[in-house]
């Protein structure tokens, strides 16, 4: 690749991406840092903005309503079935941007690296990130790298920020749910959280389950094209569908009624939840969205979601109801009703 039009710095030796490790010098502003930026980050993210090597990226405002979102990514393990922290850090922020109906335009990336972290792993992560950004496409136009001493980090932390442009006549926001609206989900819930949990060494059982991590920009673009008047979009990441719906219910000052039998859950996820004492409603997703729309738009929106590969298991899972308590309730498959409350602290397994 064409990394720079300027004269290249003379490095003592090239970075050892096989056995090398992150050193404090890679974050100290000297030649080692310049080399890491040039040979790793520039090589992976190469674009006109980065090539100018300024402290900032400059771009012309496209005009219109813009949105901005930021997300810090920490995950153990860094590599998990279906993805890694690199692609996750792109998907997470792209999804936050597009939940406004926006087209993602630019990303920034900040890395906090732990001294001693293998450069081979870092390269894998950065390349996965670059591929994910390329696939959208959304360029990473500015970035930062810091190195912390061994023991002060967990390998790699990545913070990404994204900006996007919202099409005219689209206003999607969490306070827009109205009683009577339909609640849709784009696919099976809990895949990411359970896949990551099973990838940790704590459990000795195996599964073919993969994280659902994915950028939802195309799916959202299709949905907004079909129904520009979507009321709410939300990606149910941490805290799962339960947390996302409780937030929307609070912000819209409504209640919600869900139907357990309509909520898509993979059998592996149900089984793992059963075993570990978790509820899939509280488990994280990284490639799913919740949509809320007027009842008359429901069928159109559902069809447009199902037409996209990332929405083929989409389902209408409930409706918005009037409720001054802002309770999210669920009609159980069993015939009773219960409140799907906010999560208190971490989801901890029950003993009995």
């Amino acid at each position: 690749m064409q990394s720079s039009t300027k004269k290249k710095l003379a490095y003592a030796r090239t970075l050892d991406f096989k056995t090398g490790r992150v050193e404090m010098a890679h974050g100290s502003g000297g030649r080692a840092m310049a080399q890491l930026i040039d040979q790793l980050f520039m090589a992976a993210f190469d674009n006109d903005f980065l090539r100018r090597m300024n402290d900032q990226a400059s771009f012309i405002s496209p005009g219109g309503r813009m949105v901005m979102a930021t997300d810090s990514h920490v995950v153990t393990p860094l590599f998990f079935p279906g993805g890694d922290i690199g692609c996750l850090s792109v998907h997470g922020t792209v999804n936050d941007v597009v939940m406004s109906g926006a087209k993602p335009l630019y990303l920034s990336a900040g890395f906090i690296l732990e001294e001693g972290f293998p450069l081979a792993d870092l390269k894998r992560i950065v390349e996965s990130m670059a591929n994910a950004a390329q696939a959208v496409p959304v360029p990473v136009i500015t970035g930062d790298t810091k190195v912390v001493e061994q023991g002060s980090g967990d390998g790699v932390f990545i913070t990404t920020t994204g900006v996007g442009l919202v099409p005219e006549n689209v206003y999607i926001s969490s306070e827009c749910a109205k009683p009577g609206d339909s609640i849709l989900i784009s696919g099976t819930i809990g895949d990411h959280g359970i896949a990551v949990m099973l990838a940790r060494d704590d459990f000795s059982f195996q599964s073919s389950l993969e994280s659902d991590t994915a950028s939802l920009h195309e799916l959202v673009a299709d949905m907004v094209n079909t129904v520009p008047g979507i009321h709410v979009l939300r990606d149910p990441t941490r805290g799962g569908v339960a947390a996302a719906l409780n937030e929307i219910a609070q912000q819209s000052e409504t209640g919600m009624m869900l139907y357990e039998e309509r909520i898509p859950v993979k059998p592996q996820v149900s089984a793992a939840c059963e075993f570990l004492g978790f509820d899939p409603m509280y488990v994280a997703n990284e490639g799913k969205l919740i949509a809320i729309c007027a009842p008359e738009d429901t069928d159109k929106l559902l069809d447009s979601m199902r037409a996209h590969p990332l929405g083929r298991n989409a389902a209408v899972i409930g409706e918005v109801i009037a409720d001054s308590h802002c309770f999210v309730q669920m009609k159980t498959r069993f015939g009773g009703t219960h409140v799907v409350d906010w999560l208190s602290g971490d989801q901890l397994p029950r003993i009995c």
């Binding site: 015939g335 009773g336 003993i351």
Partner: protein, 383 residues
């Protein structure tokens, strides 16, 4: 999953609900206690109360292992975890239980104590093997269900000569707790609490069998139906209790025949008897000191007994004075009778242990039951 889904079938539930509605005598009230937190959870999670006629009242019993651990023992565990070189291992929701001063294992973990959540006693043993320079304290809690697993690791530690592994034993016994509730003055003498029958424990009974309940079915004339933790199990057990009560029977019946034998799990019981012995008395949160209701590690395994290896003072600490957990655990009060329920005491900032575990009566009511009451209030207001 098929095996599980079969016990959550809505159509069957409606059939049983119709039978319950038909057979429950409309001229009387039925007060049934589900002893176990697992049943409380199922009742709340699946909305079983919605399927029952108003004359059937479910009372949440004290069968939540983290709820009944007294403050003093929790304070002991916190002190152990703060000792230099100690790694304290315990099961999930134990971490959040607050002391009267608002401290908890999670909080002292944040202050630097090495506390690890484990899924099994074996994990704690593995941690001991991997960290020979550390002393591992396994905070063992639970009813008869978890006791055999603790016995296994103590025996393994002895076989391996693992001198850095210890157990802080808090295992308690179900039958003595049920007897204690039935002997309480509120029930026996004053008649303040009506209690007509019990849904007997599921997992506990897989270990101890159905026979231990025969004593109080006969002595106290209360029917017991042992039931699994799935919602259909609970529905079926309620129907069986109503049939017993309607015909004046007080027997031990087993709904959970797919897992519970009259004699229980003989191997597990033998293992427990080998490693543990009865404590003459043990404090339960809410029930006070209950004779012969808990186990301690036998002296031949003293090397692995945290109580014998470390100085652990016997602390008897009072609960937070506004907390009604004690009365709630005895079935004397309902969570909504507690002044601080849902105000000062919520799942995010629990004051009492019943608000911590999702099996706890208060947490279950906060999470799943409040809506029912607020809906009832709205309906009443409309009339």
């Amino acid at each position: 999953m098929k095996y599980i889904e079969a016990f959550r079938d809505g159509r069957l539930a409606r059939k049983i609900a119709a039978l319950i509605a038909r057979e429950a005598d409309s001229n009387r009230q039925y007060y049934l206690m589900e002893f176990c937190g697992g049943h409380t959870h199922a009742i709340s999670r699946y909305g079983i109360a919605d399927l029952l006629p108003d004359r059937i009242h479910m009372i949440h019993g004290p069968g939540c292992p983290v709820c009944v651990l007294p403050m003093g023992r929790l304070e002991n565990a916190i002190q152990l975890a703060q000792m230099p070189g100690v790694v304290l291992c315990t099961y999930g929701d134990m971490l959040r239980i607050p002391t009267a001063k608002g401290n908890s294992l999670l909080k002292i973990k944040a202050q630097g104590a090495d506390i690890r959540m484990v899924y099994s006693s074996t994990e704690a043993l593995n941690i001991a093997q991997q960290n020979p320079q550390k002393t591992i304290v396994f905070l063992a809690i639970g009813f008869e269900t978890t006791t055999p697993a603790t016995a296994v690791v103590i025996k393994q530690a002895q076989a391996l000569g693992l001198s850095n592994f210890t157990v802080f034993c808090n295992h308690v016994l179900t039958p003595s707790a049920i007897s204690h509730i039935l002997q309480s003055p509120e029930i026996r003498q004053l008649g303040l609490v009506q209690l007509d029958g019990f849904i007997g424990p599921a997992h506990v009974s897989t270990v101890i069998g159905s026979r231990p309940y025969e004593y109080f079915a006969e002595e106290f004339q209360k029917p017991v139906v042992i039931a699994g933790f799935e919602p259909l199990d609970v529905m079926q057990a309620i129907l069986m209790l109503i049939r017993q009560l309607n015909t004046g029977r007080a027997e031990v019946e087993n709904e959970f025949t797919r897992a519970v034998l009259p004699q229980g799990n003989i191997k597990a019981k033998r293992l427990v008897a080998e490693v543990f012995e009865l404590r003459p008395s043990f404090e339960w949160r809410g029930l006070g000191h209950v004779p012969y209701s808990a186990l301690r590690i036998k002296s031949c395994f003293a090397d692995f007994d945290a109580e014998q290896r470390f100085e652990i003072p016997a602390l008897s600490l009072a609960d937070h004075k506004a907390c009604e957990c004690g009365a709630i655990l005895r079935g004397v009060k309902h969570p909504r009778d507690c002044k601080i329920f849902g105000t000062a005491c919520t799942p995010d900032n629990p004051v009492g242990s019943c608000m911590v575990s999702s099996e706890g009566a208060c947490a279950a009511y906060f999470r799943y039951g409040r809506f029912r009451d607020s809906q009832n209030q709205q309906t009443t207001a409309q009339h």
